[in-house]
Amino acid sequence: MASSVASTNNDPNSVPTIPALLDARDLFCERDDRILFQALNFSVTEGQVLQVKGSNGSGKTTLLRILCGLNDAYRGTIRWYGRAIESQAEEFYAALLYMGHRVGVNKVLSPLENLRWTCSLQQQVDTDELMVALAEVGLRGFEESQCYTLSAGQQQRVSLARLLISNAKLWILDEPFTTLDSLGVKQLEALLRGHADEGGAVIVTTHHQLKVADLRELTLG
């Protein structure tokens, strides 16, 4: 990641001074004989928040899953710092944090155990760090209870705690606001802002009106 500026020189589509973190060209996706999107171009640079909008069924989730490589039913090119992702898959996935509809929280494990596992797929963590993060997302006192005793919003918060710990440069978040209460919404917004300020990038689907500095919008459908 340190060599980002140098490697972007290969990419004719990006402005030389701001390296495009993720650059999508000419994306095309069709599902069940219906074209979800075509000739879709966009890029995200460091410090940006890209909000993907569109009506239900317009392919927002599909787009996000395509970007993180979970879905390969598309045509077009996606570049990470100007280079094809598969030539640097390890780098890309180490710098990616994805939060899907299904939050990735196992019901029988506790928030602490869940968070420890998801985080240790990417980076080394210690228990103190995890406890602090859980407390910060409002799960103090619930660290050791099994997740099926928690509400949907609380489970979502377990997943949000990952954002506090992660070193990932690119966050791809699918409807992260849905089950959160107003306090949680504010907190998440602050997290997004903070991440952008630190030079990270966010791609997020939501109907929520985001209050962030460098907000870009992409409307599907």
């Binding site: 490589g69 979970l70 180490a94 299904r102 990735g104 494990l109 797929l121 080394q124």
Partner: protein, 229 residues
């Protein structure tokens, strides 16, 4: 940033630990296949004959088939919860080779579903009147063979994890594939009765296990990517 990144070994251990922890907390998933094994093994004397001599002849086959079915029954829980709650996506998006992550899950799964069956097999063998000289070799073949069953079953589960009801299709896919292991296992046990040398037989089973360890998780990984797609 990179100095805090986990090594593949650490991610492997974390996944192994997590799955063992889940099994510990969901004891039903562990106990049920085990009970199933005991019950199926009990059905044979009732259904065929309680006569010790004839039981002794079929004991190895009964134990192997019961282990095979128990392994199949246990397979379903391997990826289902992870698929439904989204953990599987996190696993696919880790920067570590999926092969090792799948292998960790398979090992954890075998430790809680296969190993208990192997451990209790001498007891069932005694109840089925298997000749005592075969106990050890039955134990060893099950020890070598049940991991292969888990690894093969994992491919079937990975292919069908997105389906609503997959109990039967999993059996149709997985059981025919298990036949070579069933053959190798039962033949090896029978050889003890003939007094033949067992080294070659065990070597074949060992080779099967090695082949399964090196290839099956690759197929499972590919299948998981397809199912999550």
């Amino acid at each position: 940033m990179s100095e805090t990144r986990t090594s593949t070994g650490q991610a492997f251990r974390a996944t192994l630990k997590r799955d063992l922890l889940i099994a510990y907390k969901r004891k039903n998933d562990v106990v049920n296949p085990f009970m199933f094994f005991l019950i199926v093994a009990t059905l044979f004397p009732i259904g065929i004959t309680p006569e010790p001599e004839r039981l002794g002849e079929i004991a190895a086959g009964v134990l192997w088939i019961a282990a095979l079915l128990a392994s199949l029954l246990a397979m379903d829980s391997l990826y289902r919860a992870d698929y439904e709650d989204g953990s599987l996506e996190q696993l696919l998006l880790s920067s570590h080779p999926l092969y090792f992550m799948v292998l960790a899950k398979n090992i954890a799964h075998w430790l809680v579903s296969g190993l208990p069956v192997v451990l209790v097999s001498p007891l069932i063998a005694y109840m089925l009147n298997l000749p005592p000289e075969s106990y050890l070799i039955l134990f060893v073949t099950l020890l070598l063979g049940t991991p292969i069953l888990s690894l093969l079953g994992s491919i079937g589960v990975a292919l069908t994890v997105g389906l609503g009801s997959r109990g039967l299709i999993l059996a149709v896919i997985t059981l025919p594939m298990s036949v070579p292991i069933l053959i190798a296992g039962t033949l090896t046990v029978q050889q003890t009765l003939n007094g033949a040398s067992l080294l070659g037989y065990l070597a074949i089973m060992g080779a099967m296990l090695l082949a399964a360890i090196s290839l099956a998780p690759l197929a499972s990984a590919a299948a998981l990517r397809i199912s999550v797609n």
